[in-house]
């Protein structure tokens, strides 16, 4: 192994070392990047440190000034809109109506709702926190084991980043210069597989250890769940000041052409009377 490779490996090791000490990840990467380049410039004659530092003049701005990157805050905004439109609650209720009759069904419903929410939100953190706020009180009320409840929600949260639109896939596609839409297409099947496996794990662990979830008694088949609840992803309304009218959030269609996100409809907001 040459000197340069060794420096690279040491850099990687020190990056993980720093991360253990709770340094913000971005800060660690900057520190290791600058430090590593400095050390390299000492050992490798044709790499110089000053020109490297000079690129910071425009590096940050040029990386931010990226058209493709603009979908990231927009996806986050879309997730917030969906969350405030109570899409998360509707999804959970709808899924609960479908799955609530099984032992551990409410936890499975949380997974399903996470998957549905992942289809409008590109961030795992946002998905986990939004669904946690909706599903965790319900799981607690029904005396689900906290281990199962939080585990299901934490696992379900990862669906947010797997099921398109996904912030991580956008950034990855920008870095490797691949087609964002192809990335999204490729992520659908793994996302659905993950949902199936998560639900299977809940099914099996509840079967093995019935103490994890309460028994279901007299599940009300016809609960007061709105008809649209199971299809909450399709439409939802968030009422503004007037109870009879509101904005309708139509399911976003991140249709992208070629590489990038040209000519796409992030979402369509239309004013229409609420149900």
């Amino acid at each position: 192994m040459g000197e340069r490779e060794l420096i690279g490996v040491i850099g990687l090791a020190s990056l993980f070392g720093l991360l253990i000490f709770r340094i913000p990840v971005g800060l660690a990467m900057i520190a290791i990047g600058i430090g590593g380049n400095y050390v390299l410039s000492l050992y490798v004659p044709y790499l110089r440190f000053e020109p490297y530092m000079k690129q910071f003049k425009s590096l940050l701005w040029n990386n931010m000034a990226s058209y493709d990157l603009s979908v990231v805050p927009l996806f986050v905004l879309m997730g917030y809109l969906a969350s405030h439109a109570n899409l998360s609650r509707d999804l959970f209720q709808g899924m609960n109506a479908l799955l609530g009759r099984f032992r551990g069904g409410v936890a499975m419903a949380a997974i399903g709702a996470c998957a549905g929410f992942g289809a409008v939100c590109g961030s795992s953190l946002a998905t986990a926190s939004t669904m946690g706020r909706v599903a965790l009180p319900e799981l607690k009320r029904l005396r689900y084991s906290p281990r199962l409840a939080t585990g299901a929600l934490a696992a379900g949260g990862t669906l947010g980043i797997l099921i398109p639109p996904s912030v991580a896939l956008v950034i990855y596609a920008i870095i490797v210069e691949a087609s964002i839409i192809q990335m999204f297409q490729a992520a659908v099947l793994p996302g659905l597989m993950a949902v199936a496996f998560f639900i299977a794990v809940i099914l099996i662990s509840v079967r093995l250890n019935p103490a994890l979830a309460p028994a279901v008694e007299n599940f009300p088949c016809r609960r007061k769940t709105p008809g649209s609840a199971s299809f909450g992803a399709g439409d939802c309304d968030f009422r503004l000041d007037h109870p009879r009218s509101g904005f309708r959030l139509v399911h976003p269609n991140p249709g992208c052409r070629s590489r990038g996100v040209h000519d796409h409809g992030l979402w369509i907001l239309s004013v229409c009377p609420a149900r």
Partner: protein, 165 residues
């Protein structure tokens, strides 16, 4: 002082949000125009999209992205790995926290300094956006302010930590 600073940071992030709404509106208009175009083509007419749409989005997003940084710091939203450090003794944790805040402030100020140089260069080189022909250097300014605010928040959090500790 603390409340004023938090207000200022929130307002700064909200301004970023306003820019983001502008991007949303422009995008909506553009997509709407493309859809109209498809319909109009059936009748032999064309509707054009917004000229320079990508230019605007690119310039605006450069400001928006950085304008959220101080708010993120205020909410301690920057990603870190909690898994190991939460088992450290309390004093060590607090010391590490303060250390990283100092490093954050130094790095943010350093980046701001380099960005000022970048602004001067972009101004003297007359860099303009390809379609709209807008000069790019004014869009460095919100970024520089954001980085400085980021450092201020980090320093404020050090002071705050000690007062509470």
């Amino acid at each position: 002082m603390g409340e004023k600073l938090e207000q200022l940071i929130s307002i700064w992030a909200l301004l970023g949000g306003v820019l983001l709404i502008a991007i949303v509106l422009v995008t909506t208009l553009n997509v709407g125009a493309f859809t109209l175009d498809r319909a109009a083509r059936l009748m032999g007419a064309t509707v054009s999209g917004l000229p320079g749409y990508e230019d605007f989005v690119r310039l605006a997003i450069s400001a928006v992205g950085l304008m959220f940084f101080p708010y993120c710091q205020l909410r301690r939203g920057h990603v870190n790995v909690d898994l190991f450090a939460q088992h450290f003794p309390h004093t060590v944790q607090r010391a590490l926290d303060a250390l990283w805040l100092v490093v954050t402030a130094v790095m943010a100020l350093g980046l701001a300094g380099y960005m000022v140089l970048g602004l001067q260069e972009a101004k003297s080189d007359n860099i303009v956006s390809p379609v709209l022909g807008w000069p790019e250097w004014p869009f460095y300014a919100p970024g520089i302010v954001s980085l400085i605010l980021w450092a201020v928040v980090a320093l404020y959090q050090i002071a705050q930590g000690e007062r509470h500790g």
